[in-house]
Symmetry: C2
Subunit: 218 residues, 2 copies
């Protein structure tokens, strides 16, 4: 179960709050894009970052000279938000229109992964998450590449999860309005693979579909 702090307590739409750690993990694993905030002198800045999870930590990476990563290395308080948009709920009144979504808001401070071997394992874990089995085939990172890469991690201890998946919620007085009502679903489709132009003809297309479940385009 996720702990509740003052900033993770969901005040609006409290009925949408979900306290299962498994739901948090699913949202992060399906999204893999975090919106990360830092506070600058002029105001907050939100940057999209690739983010992956191993156990109860979320990881981001980038070049050492990235402005964002240099700030996050200083263990400043930050917030990572993951959002999956699932569709529009069309009610019979304008006011009751809404959306289906799943979101996770994670608070904390990043820690630097200093050890090159640990960085290598974490980055390979990320590649495996995107493309299972791939680290058997590719040229793995060399010490120079690992030295040039910053990897940061944050514990998943302070987080709030919201899942909005309710059916149309019209006011009783509007049920006779002669308007269509229902749901416009959104879903993400992944694949099929597109080989790069210079690929040698003897190299077969791998099967990475296991990472994507129903999202994979057959």
């Amino acid at each position: 179960m996720l702990s509740t702090s003052q900033r993770t307590e969901i005040k609006k739409g409290a009925h949408k709050a979900v306290f299962e750690q498994e739901k948090l993990y699913q949202i992060i694993d399906e999204s893999l894009v975090a919106h990360v905030a830092i506070q600058e002198a002029q105001g907050p800045v939100v940057i999209p970052m690739l983010a992956w999870r191993v156990g109860d930590f979320v990881y981001i990476h980038g070049a050492n000279n990235s402005r964002l990563l240099r700030r996050l290395r200083q263990a400043v308080q930050t917030c990572l938000t993951f959002t999956l948009f699932d569709g529009w709920v069309l009610a019979r009144s304008a006011f009751n229109h809404s959306a289906h979504y799943r979101s996770a808001v994670v608070f904390g401070q990043f820690e630097v992964i200093e050890d090159n071997l640990e960085k290598d394992q974490l980055l390979n874990h990320f590649v495996e998450q995107i493309a299972p089995g791939r680290t058997q085939d590719i040229r793995l990172s060399n010490p120079k590449e690992l030295m040039a890469t910053t990897v940061l991690r944050m514990p998943l201890h302070e987080a709030s999860v919201k899942i909005s998946n309710k059916d149309v919620g019209d006011d009783p007085a509007d049920l006779d309005v002669p308007a269509w009502a229902g749901f416009i679903p959104y879903r993400t489709v992944v694949g099929p693979l597109k080989a790069t132009a210079g690929l040698h003809a003897s190299i077969p297309a791998p099967d990475y579909s296991a990472a994507y479940g129903e999202r994979w385009e057959k």
Copy 2:
């Protein structure tokens, strides 16, 4: 063309920077989800919000008693980030793996829309953007509903756009690595409509596909 300020100048990956206003508009219109930041005493907070564009302004809305909207009403400096994830670029080395994405980062302060008629028009514009023609069918908002709703707008004057869509970029020394290389595309599929359980059988399904172009599932 978008203006460039100190905070919109893209330092990392400057070759991905795009200065056409039309690209900014496309990213906002296709995304409709903004990650909005506010600065709290403990650190920044990032919340996903529905956001739509009319001309050179971006709008958000919510209940008057929303904590986020109450803060944003105070004309604090904020940042809205829109991100569309387009897929994974699989290189022959771990280090050269990357992603395709389109993102827009907008800075500024929100202004409150005070006038109920203007709020009504803006909210109806949002419904029309999701479901063309729909405001002809539904029960439009009444004064009580409009009074309970906060609508905020921000000018699209200070923004940075990044588009990453390059082919695999392997080091020349890695071109003989016998690994598959290429692209795993992601795309969003919208539809088909799902009627709510209580819908009267005499009401036909509308055609909202014009709002979604190639994303619409036929």
